[in-house]
Amino acid sequence: MTLQAVTANRLADGAVVFRTPAGAWSTDVAAAAAVATGEAELLKAAEADAARQIVVGPYLIAVAAGAAGPVPTVHRERIRAYGPSIGLPGAGEG
């Protein structure tokens, strides 16, 4: 059974966000709503949020059920959810 979640970028700051079961948006993929069916409705709700200037470019991603919550299964989406796979050069700078 494949699970899906919806991701987008937050309009105001561009942050990668995931739609939660409560209909909010979280930067934590583990908080995402993951559905086996009804993904069309989920995406539709997200698109309504895009029309209301909350997020940009929502789309569905494949996820698996992890211990703490949904985990993206595709490499690109993992990098997108968890950030660059490398240490950031500016890290720690004020």
Partner: protein, 552 residues
Amino acid sequence: MYRYDDFDRAFLEERVAQFRDQVSRRLSGELSEDEFKPLRLMNGLYLQLHAYMLRIAVPYGTLSSAQMRRLAEVARRFDRGYGHFTTRQNIQLNWIRLEDAPDAIAALAEVDMHAIQTSGNCIRNVTADQYAGVAADEIEDPRVWAEIIRQWSTLHPEFTFLPRKFKIAVTGAELDRAAIRVHDIGLRMRRDAAGAVGFEVVVGGGLGRTPLVGKTIREFLPKAQLLAYLEAVLRVYNALGRRDNIYKARIKILVHDVGVETMRAMVEEEFAAVRTEGAIALDPDLVATITGHFAPPAYPPAPEAPAEVAVLEGVDRAFARWRRTNTAPHREPGYVIVNLSLKPAGRPPGDATSAEMEAVADMADRFSLGEIRVAHEQNLVLPHVRQADLPGVWEAAKAIGFATPNIGYLTDIIACPGMDYCALATARSIPVAQRISERFRDLDRLHDIGGLRLNISGCINACGHHHVGHIGLLGVDKNGEEFYQITVGGSAEEETAIGRIIGPAVSSADVVDAVERLVEAYVDLRRPGEPFLDAWRRIGPVPFKERVYAAG
């Protein structure tokens, strides 16, 4: 260097105000994303994998220390304290908030910087040889012409909506340091038999999905006719370039399809028409004014080949090595060009933190008459260093880790941001670059290998110029896994060539070993002193291929 006049300043201020208004209308919902996207792209603001990304132009790669400080400040205030210098002499900030973008752009405009023409189907910001105006082998400063092209193209009504983006590069010397044959138009300054200065005009080069080496359509074009000729090329392209297919829309496809002879004939015909119209004859006063902006600085006298440098070289092997690889001859006696390597082992190529940018700005003030250059190889350059200051520059560069003696060597890797940042990527580039630079961090070994260019792109768009690396790596996706296709024999210099794929793509786990086997094959097979490309061309692919895939 070029100073903005009142017209330029007013124009930039207007653009900032316009953009501020557009952003607020987007945030309020007055503009939809579809309406807003082209507007933000016109201001260099992309939406990338993780966030908005701001691509800031560094026209012809020249920066003042004040501009570098401002970049550092903008990166710190509005981003995460670092930036990425690209192969197009731009700098990208990866984490800009849309809400902050107008303030960031306003802060840049205060030092005459902007993000215009860094996106969209327009004539992109013109790139130039990073040693412009200072190289010992230069004919004339190419930036004068890059700036003339900028002024002509910035608001050109006919060329704002081209079939595709359009890239122009200018180099001022015989030796091509601006990779002109892989641009839509490449210009190389040269002299004719009578000694007059003009351009060789190359069209139809480009990388990406269909890599093609540009063709010379004019051996010699007098300087005064440059804009008329460019106008002719653009008109032919604008009329005939394919707008129906994004993959065929570049001028390289047009040149390839019609052939260089036909292209030349069409351009010459249009050129004659443009000249009859007389619309864009170059105003000699304007040329003189712009030339004046790029007049060489007043160099304080400096001793040629100072004894203390020779002495230090004699006793300090590391200094001698750095001087050999990271400096270049200057046209002014007593001076030298210094490259600052943004490729320390294990670091993302081309990245610099705000603190490092500030340190470079300080170095420029102390040692380089306040000027810095950005090289398309993603390094920085101090263009006006007194030879006597070399020991001091070396110490200062070492202090920030920018003194790795690897310019032009295997670890001077060109790499695009790849899947760590880029929404279009099929694989990561940076971690591969980091692993290769770690593997070859031993300097004795690196220098024994000698000059060798390795370039990495995270997808077929080829921003990392993998086709023209002596060794090129292209990230591909194989059933959800990162693999890397290896090309060999590419070159962005005189004999520009597109590398050949030598075999099946290798996995991410194997790619560093594969590169190492390839390099070792070269070291074993070369004749004494034989450069990599010469060896490759002499021996052919088979022995290399055998070695690369032997252990696989």
